[in-house]
């Protein structure tokens, strides 16, 4: 019964690991795949943890899912990017107050050869119209993430009812940003991505940014403490402390200093009341 003994020892180890885990001071942050997969959290959180000794456990999901996790009381803080969905979350009483944190932008990615000839300009709406007219392959996140919600909004702005216009060219993948990019690269399809994930993405192949710089491609991130009155298990003080740090001059400076190959990924704007 050697196996049994090994198994028993392993179980003890786990219990030990669990008990030290319980003593640690930590908060759970429900956030988006873009903040995790762009490497921002891996850069930012150690700075915060060194300063305060509070561990930050990030669960990275699409914005819609992240807000749902918080709605069930399973997170202390949400850090997402879909203003309208965040306002709804607040209106339902699940959040305390929304603070703008930072922004970057969405970019239209596609093959360098650009067979649908949408690249070069700034006008995302014109580009989408051309993609639809040509029925060029387009990969959609299709997962209620912030990026997906932004994409749907842009189709609407372009006057295209995507539910009617969709065909085999429009590929609804239901995946996170990275997997969707992998899919687009392997299918030679166009895709809307957040710039941070794109810059950090390693399987870029022959793909490049085709449309950028349109005001309508603005991508704002917000942070909120989950309402402790509604969800009594929320770690009110620790959670608020993290929110306060992220929007403090120190946290904002840390966000601005995160770069990949010399390129800044996120631009802090906690001071902008309209953001």
């Amino acid at each position: 019964m050697v196996i049994a003994r090994h198994v028993f020892v392993a179980a003890l180890f786990t219990l030990a690991a669990l008990s030290t885990h319980a003593q640690e001071r930590f908060i759970t942050v429900a956030s988006t795949t873009s903040t995790e997969q762009s490497g921002l959290f891996a850069y930012l959180l150690p700075i915060y943890e060194r300063k305060t000794g509070i561990k930050v456990h990030v669960v990275a999901l699409g914005t819609g899912q992240a807000l749902d996790v918080a709605r069930r009381g399973d997170a202390d803080v949400v850090f997402v990017h879909a203003r309208a969905a965040e306002e709804t979350f607040l209106a339902e009483g699940h959040g305390v107050k929304r603070y703008p944190v930072m922004y970057n932008d969405f970019v239209l990615i596609g093959p360098k050869a650009d067979p649908a000839r949408v690249g070069g300009g700034k006008d995302i709406v014109a580009a989408l119209k051309r993609l639809e007219a040509a029925h060029a392959p387009f990969v959609s996140r299709g997962d209620r993430s912030g990026t997906h919600m932004a994409e749907l909004e842009l189709w609407k702005t372009a006057g295209i009812d995507i539910d009617k216009a969709r065909g085999p060219w429009y590929r609804d993948t239901g995946q996170g940003m990275g997997p969707a990019l992998n899919t687009a690269v392997s299918m030679n399809a166009y895709i809307l991505a957040d710039r941070g994930t794109w810059l950090a993405f390693k399987n870029q192949g022959d793909f490049t940014v085709l449309v950028e710089g349109d005001k309508r491609l603005f991508n704002q991130y917000g942070v909120m403490l989950v309402n402790p009155d509604r969800h009594p298990n929320v770690k009110k003080e620790l959670g608020q402390q993290f929110v306060d740090w992220v929007i403090s001059p120190e946290g904002q400076k840390a966000i601005a200093s995160y770069k990949i190959n010399g390129k800044q990924l996120f631009y802090p704007n906690a001071q902008d009341p309209a953001a």
């Binding site: 392993a10 669990l18 885990h21 795949t33 669960v59 009381g73 649908a116 990275g178």
Partner: protein, 251 residues
């Protein structure tokens, strides 16, 4: 309306797949040789979680399998079919159910186990208990058919017979336990949902591989995959050797 004819180019991806594989091999070697502390932590968490799940599943599954094997009751056949079918439980569904149970809004929310290794143990144990119970039921029942008369003549009760058979068949049961471990260690859907893939807390081999794939770092993902294969292989080899030695000495 026209479709672009260049989509789904399978040919051009071939050389890149080959180079990804060799790059993956190099990554695997680099990871193992460097004994990267982060990798060590992820590997040990994977082992802790999956071995604990196997322990729990054995405590529940082996007695259950033995009990069903030696007893006759109404609905037994239906139970066996159900048990055999639940070997194919979809991990994502189990993950979702455990998530709903352990969520703060769920019935067991007060325990605060969601997004902890304990939640991952629970999910994996639920996944592999049916495997261990169903397979051990079969093995024990076969032996029970064969030695039933003998065990009766020795005055064994059904309970005693179940215990005796469990002990006598221990070497055959090891393979079943390993099958359960394999399923637990290879599983990603359930642990992703209930663990949350939190860096340094609930990130295990499979969720780390999924994350690196997401980031488009395919060589690193493949490298991690090879490390996982090596670990599972070593564990199986070790179990086989121990089993063989023990069998020769005591069998």
């Amino acid at each position: 309306m026209h479709y672009f004819s260049y989509i789904d180019v399978g040919v051009s991806s071939l050389p890149s797949a080959m180079s990804s594989l060799s790059q993956g091999g190099l990554e695997a070697l680099r990871l193992i040789a460097g004994a990267d502390p982060k990798l060590v932590q992820i590997v040990s968490l994977s082992l802790q979680v999956s071995l604990s799940a196997v322990a729990v599943a054995c405590l529940a599954g082996l007695p259950l399998g033995a009990a069903i094997a030696v007893s006759r009751f109404h609905g037994r056949r239906a139970l066996i079919v159900a048990l055999n079918a639940s070997m194919g439980l979809p991990p994502v569904v189990v993950g979702l159910l455990v998530y709903l149970m352990l969520s703060r809004a769920g019935p067991l929310g007060e325990l605060g186990l969601l997004f902890t290794p304990a939640a991952m143990v629970v999910a994996q144990a639920i996944l592999i208990t049916p495997i261990i119970a169903a397979l051990s039921r079969q093995v024990i029942e076969d032996a029970w058919m064969e030695y039933r008369e003998q065990l009766h003549s020795l005055g064994e009760t059904r309970l005693g017979a179940a215990v005796t058979l469990l002990w006598d068949l221990r070497f055959s049961l090891v393979t079943i336990v390993l099958a359960g471990f394999g399923r637990a260690a290879a599983e990603v859907g359930a642990v992703m949902i209930v663990g949350g893939n939190i860096d340094g807390v609930t990130r295990v081999m499979t969720t780390a591989i999924a994350l690196e794939t997401s980031k488009g770092d395919l060589p690193l993902a493949l490298g991690l995959g090879m490390v996982l294969l090596v670990i599972v292989f070593s564990l199986n080899a070790a179990a086989y050797l121990v089993n063989e030695t023990a069998q020769r000495r005591y069998g």
